[in-house]
Subunit: 420 residues, 2 copies
């Protein structure tokens, strides 16, 4: 490969050498002019998923009707095992697709605190995703535990030192994100899990911004618990269900608090008392979202076909290239890189900081480049290995430079959540 | 209308006079030989819903991508208001579509107990749907409250006397089903709500087996809280989201325990502390299921078009006709009616009792009639007004008579949940 140059022909060279390029055709791309760098918020629609959803609706529901439950009943576990095998480094029987990330966080955090009697502290960090912080605040309020919030550098992710300092023998659970939603900072799962275990606490990893974007090795890292969503890099569609992981030896020890009929042993006996199903099934609650679960299965299968190692290699190339162009073009225009520069410490997206990040993000959409804005002054750009070309990264950055240089965003109104 | 006769021509006469008959074409009916009497478990697929799901997948997700969230964000409330208006007798801003019934039960039951400080008893009945009983058992275990379980006649539904006897000034919440899942017994919502309120407790109605099947008047009855599912009579598809109702004046008083980012005021400010959104939005948790919510909206719209009064009138005709045929043909074959005979006390399905209910239900499926089996010895049959004709009821009962009389079910293996 030739040396970096801020010239479009260099991007074209990279595209020509890209082994994953054919996967672009596995996604619906009706608007070929659009540069989509927001797969970290909502992943695009795989062609096969589109067909499979139609099949589930038209055939399984439309014709099979209630009889299709004979197969559907397996889906939460089947889709979970598929995620485990292809994306999470988890042997079967430890991952299940159900509920939302928020509800799964609640279930696992609650169960984890119960599993560490005599300990009454939960740790998270101040730059964790809002729903993680809110769920833990709620649980702390309900149970009277202490929520200890460590400070995290908004540009870099979790600090090992801050965590080490907060840990003591009162800590029952530490809940952290594997990839920080704002900076894209990638935590060292094995190292932090070890640190947490040495203090006798359990760890709950939020994988929302890492599943499908970076290799996750739940079993190998010794992680206890994890949750994640499937509508970002897993491409399972808007509001597709979340998943959860409980390490096999913990499953019998942990009792989640929402006792529903899908978590019941011998469910259709409809017995008088709740008697949790053995294994990972006990972490189910109500009737699962079937269309969403099918899309999870297809999404995981597609990423598995490409292979996480190849995906990660191209993702690093894409984000490194994006950063190199930002260094070349944007630093004089008021931007800063707000993601780790070390690729080994970075997830699938790059965050830029700019005082006018909100109006710039909107003007960029008008220029047919969709990224996203995050408070207070961040622009997130996610070039996704299966769907983004290097030329698209070049063009997106070129338009971003143009928008910022010409201040073509001056007419954009205030960000909506500040208009009250 | 002529007098009842156990002759097929009578059914044909009823069909000819049926104003709702044209609605049959609003549903996908590829297999026209199938008699589907299990809409109380999974409702059939409306044609418009099929098209709308394809539109959401192909256009909103496939082309609009993350930009579609501008509209999707309104869906939980929009679909909730649609249910409120057409099916629940609730003015806007009190119903929201989210999570599953199980999770919604948990949220509301928890919040209700908090809202009645000094009271530590929750009441339900022993024939309530399993997930309702299990959720309350779980909450009672976690909070140390007492779960008082009143006895309900399996064939008739809730006894007002048993409830009156169980109520006292320790009771914080009573959670009951409006229509009993087993017998189809229909509770008098207004009367029981009054009784419960006189004891100073809150009531939480489970509407799973009543929404879309019988008129529900939440506002007029003075009900406090309700939950329900949408995959039965609302025809929103397998695992479509549940809904919940919180009467307007209670919304600010009740704080549900799962604090997620969709329940947060000014969600995208992503502020440091959970600050619940005003109104019904505070009962949301995580990212909503978009495809499912769209199907709820379409399902409610379709039932609203037919009108609940017309639906209820035909439903009573259908179930009364089914019971009349059962009386005529089945009593000598070991069957009993296990639903209220008084139509005013019966929901949308009829339950028959037979010692061989399980193998009979399976042999009936072989005869192209899909009903469902419920432990220990019940066969549930739901002739649904929008999709079931009187002739289908005649044919189904005729085949049931044949199956039972010839014992053609003798080869059916034991019910699956007894095979362990």
């Amino acid at each position: 490969m030739t040396t970096f140059s801020a010239d479009r022909s260099y991007a074209q060279e990279l595209d020509a050498a890209d082994q994953l390029a054919p996967f672009r055709d596995r996604f619906v791309r009706q608007d070929r002019e659009l540069i989509y760098l927001d797969g970290n918020s909502l992943g695009p629609l795989p062609v096969r998923t589109q067909a499979r959803i139609a099949e589930v609706v038209d055939q399984d529901w439309g014709v099979g009707l209630v009889r299709s439950w004979d197969r559907w009943i397996q889906l939460p576990r089947q889709a979970g095992d598929m995620l485990g095998e292809h994306l999470l480094g988890a042997v079967p029987g430890q991952v299940i697709v159900c509920d939302s990330v928020t509800v799964n966080l609640y279930k696992l955090a609650w169960a984890a605190v119960d599993a560490r009697p005599g300990r009454d502290v939960v740790i998270t960090d101040d730059d964790n995703f809002p729903t993680d912080r809110y769920v833990l605040q709620g649980m702390a309020a309900q149970r009277g535990c202490e929520l200890r919030v460590i400070h995290t550098d908004m540009d870099n992710g979790i600090s090992e030192e801050a965590l080490a300092e907060a840990l003591d023998d009162r800590v029952a659970l530490v809940a952290l994100s594997h990839v920080a939603y704002r900076s894209g900072g990638l935590a060292d799962m094995t190292k932090l899990t070890d640190l947490i275990h040495r203090a006798g606490a359990l760890v709950l990893w939020d994988l929302c911004h890492s599943v499908g974007a970076v290799p996750v090795e739940l079993d190998a890292s010794g992680a206890d618990l994890a949750v994640g969503c499937t509508y970002k890099y897993v491409n399972a569609g808007p509001g597709a269900p979340g998943f959860l992981y409980v390490r096999e030896d913990l499953q019998a020890l942990l009792c989640q608090p929402i006792w529903g009929w899908f978590g019941q042993h011998d469910q259709f006996a409809m017995g008088p008392r709740y008697d949790p199903a053995p294994g990972i099934d006990s972490f189910l609650t109500g009737t699962p979202n079937i269309i969403g679960s099918v899309a999870v299965e297809e999404g995981a299968r597609l990423l598995g076909e490409a292979g996480l190692a190849a995906l990660r290699a191209k993702s690093i190339e894409l984000t490194s290239y994006l950063i190199a162009l930002a260094d070349e073009w944007l630093m004089s225009l008021g931007f800063m890189i707000a993601s780790p520069r070390d690729a080994a410490r970075r997830g699938g997206h790059v965050t830029l900081r700019h005082d006018d990040a909100w109006p710039i993000s909107q003007a960029l959409i008008r220029a047919n480049v969709v990224g996203d804005y995050r408070t207070p002054d961040r622009l997130r750009l996610a070039p996704v290995p299966l769907t983004t070309s290097f030329t698209e990264v070049f063009d997106a950055m070129d338009r971003l430079r143009e928008v910022a240089a010409t201040k073509s965003y001056a007419d954009v109104p205030l960000e909506p959540h500040r208009v009250t």
